[in-house]
């Protein structure tokens, strides 16, 4: 009896064949991704504190959370940040992608240059923007003073008025390249024949965009918006380096609040509970958003 497999007969033992192929990733994923995740979620239902015992505590953490004004404040900051950064990065990313799709000269050079923010390690981005926003030696103040736009240097990252806009500018800056890259790839899948047909019908650039580009980009926009929403809501490193959540908690995003709870104050169980709540919130948003997107496509 021959030992060779006969792959052309697909239906036979499909599950097993597939599992065999998935084995190389299943094992590490189980270990490194799945088990810690389950454990992390579980910790959110305990009263674990650094140096203490881990006791199951049911929904206690969540009851406390409902009363915790700092938690609600950080959620508010989180939503504001996520909404603004996502909207800006999608909008600006789309515009940039459209520009790069026009077939102008030097486009391939521009496409590489625009990826520079992505090339920088997040810690470099953070330290660099902190330098730029630095009150006395930072580029922003120096340039604005030279141009005569301001008299006194503004302490951007410590100011109650400017801290949030300042970190938003830095955050959007880091996210535009990826968004533009994906949109550009998506734009290139749209057959030019559609545009040519529209031009023959005398459509303006704006109409072409609205009736051809946008609908065809809907799936990729949905994907990018979903991913961006998740990543932005979970943002941590950049903002921590820039403001540590200050001034006065004005820029304390949910992840910063969770980090402080766990690493600074020692309430690991509570911090994990915050993490669980963040997951639920993001899931709810994604559910409704994608449902709407799906309806629009089929409807």
């Amino acid at each position: 009896m021959s030992k060779s497999t006969t792959p052309t007969v697909r239906p036979r033992n499909r599950n097993l064949d597939q599992l065999q192929l998935l084995l190389p990733i299943m094992v590490p994923v189980l270990l490194i991704s799945f088990i810690p995740l389950v454990r992390g979620i579980y910790i959110g239902f305990t009263d674990y504190e650094l140096g203490g015992q881990m006791n199951f505590s049911g929904l206690d953490n969540y009851r406390i959370m409902m009363q915790d004004s700092f938690f609600w404040r950080s959620m508010g900051v989180g939503f504001l940040w996520t909404a603004v950064v996502t909207a800006l990065q999608i909008g600006l990313g789309m515009i940039l992608a459209l520009l790069l799709n026009q077939g102008l000269r030097l486009t391939s050079l521009y496409s590489v240059l625009m990826l520079v923010p992505w090339a920088m390690p997040p810690i470099v981005r953070g330290l660099m923007w902190r330098q730029i926003y630095s009150p006395d030696t930072g580029a922003l103040n120096l340039i604005l003073t030279q141009m005569g736009l301001i008299d006194n240097p503004i302490n951007w990252l410590a100011s109650f008025e400017w801290a949030l806009p300042a970190i938003i500018v830095a955050g959007v800056w880091g996210e535009i390249p990826k968004a533009a890259l994906f949109f550009l790839a998506g734009l290139k899948t749209i057959p030019s024949s559609l545009y040519e047909a529209a031009e023959l019908d005398g459509a303006s650039a704006f109409r072409k965009f609205r009736h051809i580009t946008l609908p065809m980009m809907k799936p990729i926009m949905a994907a990018v918006v979903s991913l961006s929403f998740m990543w932005n809501f979970n943002a941590f490193g950049l903002i921590w380096i820039l403001t540590q959540g200050g001034p006065g908690g004005l820029t304390r995003l949910p992840m910063l609040a969770a980090y402080e709870e766990a690493f600074r104050y020692g309430y690991v169980g509570y911090a994990a509970a915050i993490g669980n709540v963040m997951v639920i919130i993001i899931s709810i948003f994604l559910f409704f958003y994608l449902r709407v997107q799906l309806k629009e496509r089929t409807g």
Partner: protein
């Protein structure tokens, strides 16, 4: 006559609009590139000039002292080597093991697909910081703490969702007739995957390699927590050492080291650009 054409209505409109578009791109690029340019400029200024409060793009006194001081510190060179090692190995491994998986998910339609896709999504949602400690404990029981291999293992797993997503869409595009022809000729599944499919996926693989390398190169927190030996640091962790208590910073050397830290990724972009700027991501966006 030619000159008249240049100023004719429609061509003029086109020229102006192209001019404006170039301009708009330059505005974007200024926003995106300014911090890097400022950083490079700072790295070539002597310390006194950095603190002098005069904004100049071109240093009044050009110096390479910061670069010299960075390079003199062996630790930076070692950390660069470590980061390169981790980045390259991660990229290679994640592509090699994701390829069969991507194949399996496109060619076979079973319930497992939904499970995997579900995991791809959920793994992005949960805040990474909170799984650090359970993850560390697992690595310790595998005796992989304080080792670059442990770091590679973790990075590989973290990159799988995205790489799968990218490869999957591209695998879909490959006509199944190619495989069936090979199978008739007696090829095993392994041979089909690595000898036929893989070469056709090179653009997507290029994009995946890029993504995996940059993610590994940039990662800070887990590298900080996992690696304790003096010789095992990665570049981001070393960069953090340029800031001291009370937020002091050795600004000049920090700028120089930061620029050095950015170069590999930019080089990779330039090399692989022909792959991802055209078709590589199309597979992902279609899928």
């Amino acid at each position: 006559m030619q000159i008249m054409n240049i100023f004719s209505g429609r061509m003029l409109k086109r020229r102006i609009s192209r001019f404006l578009m170039h301009g708009l791109i330059l505005v974007f690029l200024t926003y995106l590139l300014f911090p890097l340019i400022w950083m490079i400029s700072t790295s070539f200024k002597p310390t006194a000039e950095i603190y002098s409060g005069i904004p100049t793009l071109i240093p009044e006194v050009f110096t390479v002292e910061h670069y010299l001081s960075v390079i003199e510190e062996e630790r930076i060179l070692i950390s660069i080597l470590n980061s390169l090692y981790v980045g390259i190995i991660t990229a290679i491994i994640v592509v090699l093991i994701s390829l069969p998986a991507a194949y399996a998910l496109t060619r076979y339609k079973t319930g497992v697909n939904k499970l995997v896709m579900g995991w791809v999504l959920t793994s992005q949602i949960f805040p990474a910081i909170l799984i650090m400690i359970p993850l560390f404990i697992i690595l310790r029981s595998l005796h992989l703490t304080d080792s670059l291999s442990g770091l590679v293992l973790v990075y590989v797993v973290w990159d799988i969702p995205f790489v799968l997503w990218m490869l999957q869409g591209y695998v879909k595009e490959i006509p199944i007739e190619l495989e069936e022809a090979a199978a008739i000729d007696g090829a095993t599944q392994g041979q089909i995957i690595y000898k036929i499919i893989m070469p056709l996926l090179l653009p997507a693989i290029g994009a995946a390699v890029l993504f995996a390398f940059i993610s590994a190169w940039n990662e800070f927190f887990f590298a900080l927590v996992l690696l304790k030996s003096p010789d095992l640091t990665t570049l981001p962790v070393e960069l953090a050492r340029y800031t001291g208590i009370e937020g002091q910073a050795r600004t000049g050397p920090l700028a120089a080291a930061s620029f050095i830290a950015t170069i590999p990724s930019i080089v990779l972009f330039a090399i692989l650009r022909k792959w991802f700027s055209s078709g590589a991501l199309q597979g992902a966006v279609k899928g």
